[in-house]
Amino acid sequence: MTYERQKDFGTPEVLAETQVTLIIDGREVTVPAGTSVMRAAAECGGSIPKLCATDNMKAFGSCRLCLVEIEGRKGTPASCTTPAEQGMVVATQTPRLEKLRRGVMELYISDHPLDCLTCSANNDCELQDQAAAVGLRDVRYGYEGADHLGAPVDTSNPYFDFDPSKCIVCSRCVRACDEVQGTLALTIDGRGFASMVSAGQTGDDFLSSECVSCGACVQACPTATLQEKSVKEIGKPERSVVTTCAYCGVGCTFRAEMRGEQLVRMVPWKDGKANRGHSCVKGRFAWGYANHADRITSPMIRETIHEPWREVSWDEALAYTAGKLNAIKAQYGARALGGITSSRCTNEETFLVQKLVRAGFGSNNVDTCARVCHSPTGYGLKTTFGTSAGTQDFDSVMQADVMLVIGANPTDAHPVFASRMKRRLRQGAKLIVIDPRRIDLVRTPHVSAEHHLALRPGTNVAVLTAMAHVIVTEGLVDQAFVAERCDVDAFEDWARFVSDERHSPEFLAEVTGVPATTLREAARLYAKGPNSAIYYGLGVTEHSQGSSTVMAIANLAMATGNIGRPGVGVNPLRGQNNVQGACDMGSFPHELSGYRHISDGDTRALFEADWQVSLDDDPGLRIPNMLDAALDGSFRAIYIQGEDILQSDPDTRHVAAGLAAMDCVIVHDLFLNETANYAHVFLPGSTFLEKDGTFTNAERRIQLVRKVMEPANGLQDWQVTQALANAMGLGWTYTHPREIMDEIARLTPSFEGVSFERLDEQGSLQWPVNEANPDGSPVMHVDGFVRGKGLFVVTDYVPTDEKTGLRFPLLLTTGRILSQYNVGAQTRRTANVVWHEEDVLEIHPVDAENRGLKSGDWVRLASRKGETTLRAKVTDRVAPGVVYTTFHHPETQANVVTTDYSDWATNCPEYKVTAVQVSRSNGPSDWQENYAELADRSRRIAPAEPAE
């Protein structure tokens, strides 16, 4: 495949019913009314010269290159700003136009360095292309006049440079930042000849400005002015492969642009239906971890965790591991073995790991990191709607009138979708934010929430039930929807329950900290819609009442009729790239793929026939139960693929004790992560760039991951799992992940119509893909709920057992930041650390003053479970009484502090509420010191033995 830029139609696609037909250069073309002449010309194969136009932003009409002549009209209008009309006759190439364009081009080039041969954009530059297209041969003005050629280059951003000497001031970067990203970090400084693109204000550079490094400006730049450093270093790509990002649950698709085996850059794929050609700093730029020096590419084993690692061949590693597992199984039984699948890996890999556990190990002790994030979503939405997934596609947000964001921080955690939300909010949609912390969306340029309900952590259910109280008692229920679509008896019970005075906003204000009038207004706004959509994240699920909160959300949506059409719905924002997929693939101990209970004999029979084994009909252990069982000696071996439970799971010391008690811990990962400090076998993993497979994003969209380079460790992760299975004697024979997907489709009704061939043809499919929905399902529950009638569930607010008191008077809640990703195994190994090199503790000025703290001070953060130290940041983003930190850095280990309280239904840990005390500190906690020492010792790798 040779390298080509994606075709640029110049102006955005217009969706209109009315079509118009016009003639451009003698060719007849029919386009939706409102389409620009420029785009119409591109649709019929023409290409009008242009510089300031590009098809992901509104026409600007400034470069004066796209002029055309239109019969019956005076002058030479710009084709980008001229809408096509019925019967129009357009000429795009005439001697008059050629002369005008050449004249314009001469002006541009008179202030542009003539260093094309040594320029990083050589042969990939729109200015160069257009100079060629208009036949520029000389510049009458000469090169002696004033110019910008000496302007200094801004190299402050770690991923791209800004070289204003090459800038033609087309404003594409400024407009990309405004329209596509919605950060508005760029402007044009000055006027006339002195006009320059500027990040922020005088004295700012890109790094100090409001720039979030999404790269939309770099992608928009038609010259080398804004250019990836990687392109400068490596050169122009020579081929590209479309693949899917492995960071968050948005599921952006990218063109991985390659030179040989080297990745040059990631460019968002314009046809990607999840991201629509946009990206964030992580997906576009933070892929350097793939070649980081810390990457382990050889298998390693050791008898005890006190020994150094020993590098061995794959054969030796697999034989050793299989021997251990078989011996433990023989001595302690199948239930002493288990595995954890990864939401970072592909559907196919995840499916194989759970198959290995169920069919190979012989137990149902398989769980996944969704246990600690969205398991309550699975439970709550399955109970109320009948299916464990969000109801909408991302495009739906563009039809929402009211957005209710609860327990989610989209601009940091789901930035590409947040840009879509902000675009819709700038168009006038209203926003309600329910969050203890003032997240950016509450107030960010051109976006501000109507209502911010800054509730006390742990009171989600109370707030949502109070909203329901307002909706029911003020007569705002969509009676027709409820009567037709929902279980009416359950509704009556629920309505009676929420109407009780003890659920009124006034009664609950003291508990929740939300003023009753604010809550009433928010409830009315949500109920009024007409299209109201709820978006939520882990601030909902990671609570002792996580499942109740999900159901309370579902209740609100059903009561107001906000389900089953575009613009509405209940939308969990999934944390990881494939957390939806990992759940779909049967990673939970009680469920086979497609959320079918393991005790269901018919489903089990289907798998038993296909796999030629007999399956245990008892649900297996969840992660926390595995750790408990390890401590009591009944659970002895675990295979952990792509997950760092030591850092990510709550109550670190308990996790460490559980792992330390096991006989065989197998870690399959890119790096010696924290969990590997307790491992006996390390199987090197492959990155998403090195494998084939599929990821399923938050909107149930299944997308292909395509291998763009050979695995550094020699094997893709599914191959490693298969090799381990075969070392245990299972005789698997997959030759490509497509065969695994065929098996998934064969065994899972909601995936019935999915295959690699179809995904390749269609770009993506949203499950369910079956006979009723052969092309997938962007919006669910359109004609009725999957479970039949929607079920209202009574959600009684039960305060968490984690209580503040004299010793621990503050509530800690945790979250993520834009530049870092979860445990940071990847992002900490990229230049993203310039934005976030350590976790800090946000504390309100009042609480800080009481403790004599100022920003930058080292503080001790202690809970009933443990303590750690980190730096304080004094800010009124958090309310008095609440402190906040991130969990990206193992030096901090925020989870030393978190408790083992968990969701009543799913055991999802209560990360979001921990009673803590904060005080001045002058050094690391004992745990931090001891752990650092253990980690250093455990990561030793024995020098290779000299060859014979």
Partner: protein, 141 residues
């Protein structure tokens, strides 16, 4: 009163208008002699704009400046009509009269084309200038 407090008052006086940014910036410029980077940031936060947006506006207009210039300013029209009536020939004398003490600013049309060359000092426009009258106007600044 601190500058920040005064800017808050100025913002409060205009924030309910449609398009409050320019009136705010003009008042800040008039009272504080410039719109500093800190002032830009404060106004941006108050109006929920980005810092870059406000800076783009401040750097665009001649009448707004990022740094104070305490010198008096005489604006001389350099547009076509005044040029045709001999404005260009007055510039050497104007520069000599101004020296470093007075700032000369070019403007393009003061709306009195038939009676140029024209210049403006403070809120007053002066017409039918010759070298001597312009020099004495500058001297009086």
């Amino acid at each position: 009163m601190s500058q920040a407090a005064r800017i808050d008052e100025i913002v409060a006086a205009h924030v309910h208008r449609e398009g409050p940014l320019l009136p705010i910036l003009r008042d800040v410029q008039a009272e504080l002699g410039c719109v500093s980077a800190e002032a830009e940031t404060q106004v941006a936060l108050a109006l929920n704009l980005s810092r870059a947006e406000v800076h783009g506006v401040v750097s665009f207009y001649h009448d707004l400046s990022e740094r104070p210039d305490p010198r008096p300013c005489v604006e001389i029209c350099r547009a076509e009509a005044c040029q045709a009536r001999g404005a260009e020939a007055l510039m050497d004398a104007a520069r000599a009269a101004a020296g470093e003490r007075v700032r000369l600013a070019d403007v393009y049309c003061l709306g009195l084309c038939s009676v140029g060359p024209n210049a403006k000092l403070g809120d007053e426009v002066h017409a039918r200038l010759d070298a001597a009258r312009l020099a004495s106007l500058i001297a009086s600044a």
